[in-house]
Subunit: 343 residues, 2 copies
């Protein structure tokens, strides 16, 4: 990449004159300025942002750590983040971290080494802990946590009303007359824990017994476990008449397991998802789910991080960590119906 030094050599001017001409500062004659700018254009000169970052003491770059890109939900959050970063002239360094803690630690260290002004963190599926958490604490700039959180997390969170959304989905099943409701969860993360809580709250509120054998948990995600767990659940003589699922992808596996066992949805079995991914509209029956707004989650998380970065640069005291949870609303489609009469 051509340097400013080289531009000044070509033009036969000092480095300082070339710098003034290019950054639009006074002290350079019109003809000289135009000549310098013309040479810079010819040579595709781009101001070195690395130098600017060091001079300004801020990089105008944020870090994004993510352990899963390959679904619509995370992808839309990332799209929302980039929309706001772009408007605010921030760039993004991304760490895609899917493996062991040691790698996560190194990844966070790289963000610090690149002097990112802040981090937008999608926490790993399991709670961050140990060396990873220590490295995160050592990071001196603002951190905003996206979607998931963890016990004792002291960072701002932008996510969804998971408890409320799950509560609404469960009430919907209860209102349809279902009593034997299973919950297929993924409680290694906070969203799964919150959705289980919302389920339990609704069952308790309506005085309906929760059976431990119908609380099933997926161990790793993504996986095909939901399919097998559903076959188990539905093979028992007193099978559940409804299954509430951690998310839409789990619901899709439940739907296919039911189909393979010759059960009709929603006649024999009702199913709810969570997330409102586009795929739930494209399968038949369309899946009743809980809507989330991932793009807006991403936008708000990025805005909040930028606010925190600005506040820090203005030496304002660090604010108390906030939780901004966007509404998660029931969306009734075709996969839920009245409890079967003979159940």
């Amino acid at each position: 990449m051509v340097s400013l030094n080289r531009i000044s050599e070509i033009c036969g001017v000092s480095l300082s004159t070339a710098s003034k001409a290019i950054s639009g500062k006074p002290g350079v004659g019109k003809a000289t300025r135009e000549r310098i700018l013309s040479v810079a254009r010819q040579h595709n000169y781009r101001p070195n942002q690395l130098v600017h970052s060091i001079q300004r003491g801020r990089s105008m770059m944020v870090g994004i750590t993510c352990s899963q890109f390959d679904d619509e939900f995370a992808g839309k959050i990332v799209a929302g983040i980039f929309e706001v970063l772009y408007e605010a002239s921030y760039d993004a360094m991304v760490i895609y971290w899917e493996r062991n803690v040691q790698e996560g630690v190194r990844a966070l260290g790289n963000l610090a080494g690149r002097r990112v002004d802040g981090i937008l963190m999608f926490p790993p599926a399991a709670y961050p802990q140990g060396a990873y958490l220590e490295e995160l604490r050592a990071f001196p700039n603002p951190v905003v946590v996206v979607d998931q959180t963890w016990p004792g997390c002291q960072y701002d969170l932008v996510g969804s009303q998971d408890v409320e959304g799950a509560f609404a989905a469960t009430e919907h099943l209860l209102e349809l007359g279902h009593r034997r409701i299973a919950h297929l969860g993924f409680t290694h993360g906070s969203t799964g824990k919150d959705r289980l809580l919302g389920f339990q709250n609704a069952m308790i509120r309506h005085g309906v017994a929760i059976h431990e054998k119908w609380l099933r948990d997926i161990q790793s995600y993504p996986s095909e476990e939901a399919y097998e767990l559903t076959r188990e659940l539905l093979s028992e003589p007193d099978r559940p008449t409804a299954i509430m699922c951690f998310n839409d992808e789990v619901a899709l596996q439940v739907l296919s397991a039911a189909a393979d066992m010759g059960l009709s949805v929603p006649k024999d079995l009702s199913i709810t998802g969570f997330g409102d991914l586009s795929l739930v509209r494209h399968v038949r029956p369309q899946i009743t789910t809980v809507t989330q707004d991932p793009r807006e989650i991403g936008r708000r998380a990025a805005k909040l991080l930028i606010d925190r970065i600005e506040a820090k640069h203005q030496k304002q005291p660090a604010p108390v960590a906030s939780q901004d949870r966007l509404p998660a609303r029931l969306m009734v489609r075709q996969s839920t119906g009245p409890c079967p009469q003979d159940a």
Copy 2:
């Protein structure tokens, strides 16, 4: 972030001594070195990679430009890319670019300004052109293009054998006796053009007429257009008995349109997808498709880019652009069957 300057002040040593101690260079006594390292640890000092980047004349950072994250295919490519970058100690600056050309130009300029050593480029859905292409040409470091390409592209490409994959899917339908085969494409991009070509090649090879009215094209992606186009195609009296789809997501919409019209798949209609996303295994009937290997595409693209970067730093002449296309193989599932007898 604590600076090396500050560490040297705290320790009462010169900046040069602090620098030597931390980078493990000789010329510092053992006790002094240990004291400096200990203070650096206490203050969570991280070597400033911005300074290193300038000193070395390379940033050890590559740019990734991407116009869509929110699907499994792109997500797995990105995962493969990060795997290799991590192994080779490169970081990644990501540009998520989904809007107008002007923004794309600015985004490329930002990559140049950050002095990235190379770019992994997912081309935009429509061919890159005009100012965007000019900006790309002005970028002085290696570029590797991923998945899609465009006419006249002079960069290395890592992608899939789209023509061959589509040929195999079409032959499969022909072998099942289908003659009235529609093609639901997305030919704004090169993969869609190649798949249409594979379809046409197979039809011609087998001497089967291609009807223009059954060549339908989606205008924007992602969208719900495939659903509507399918309803149109299937409403005609001499409807096709098979539809070959641009990809799995399109195939899913075709499947739901068929279901909503009371058609049974594969009895009344055969459907093929492309990509082998996990969703095609989770719907019923499971969709016959063409496999791709997105993670390996990502790995190879990143390896190739790093090779190109190394070669450039060793002043080797720029090699001729290559095309590395990974096999795309037919995967027969449940959505294809013999041509209906009465058709």
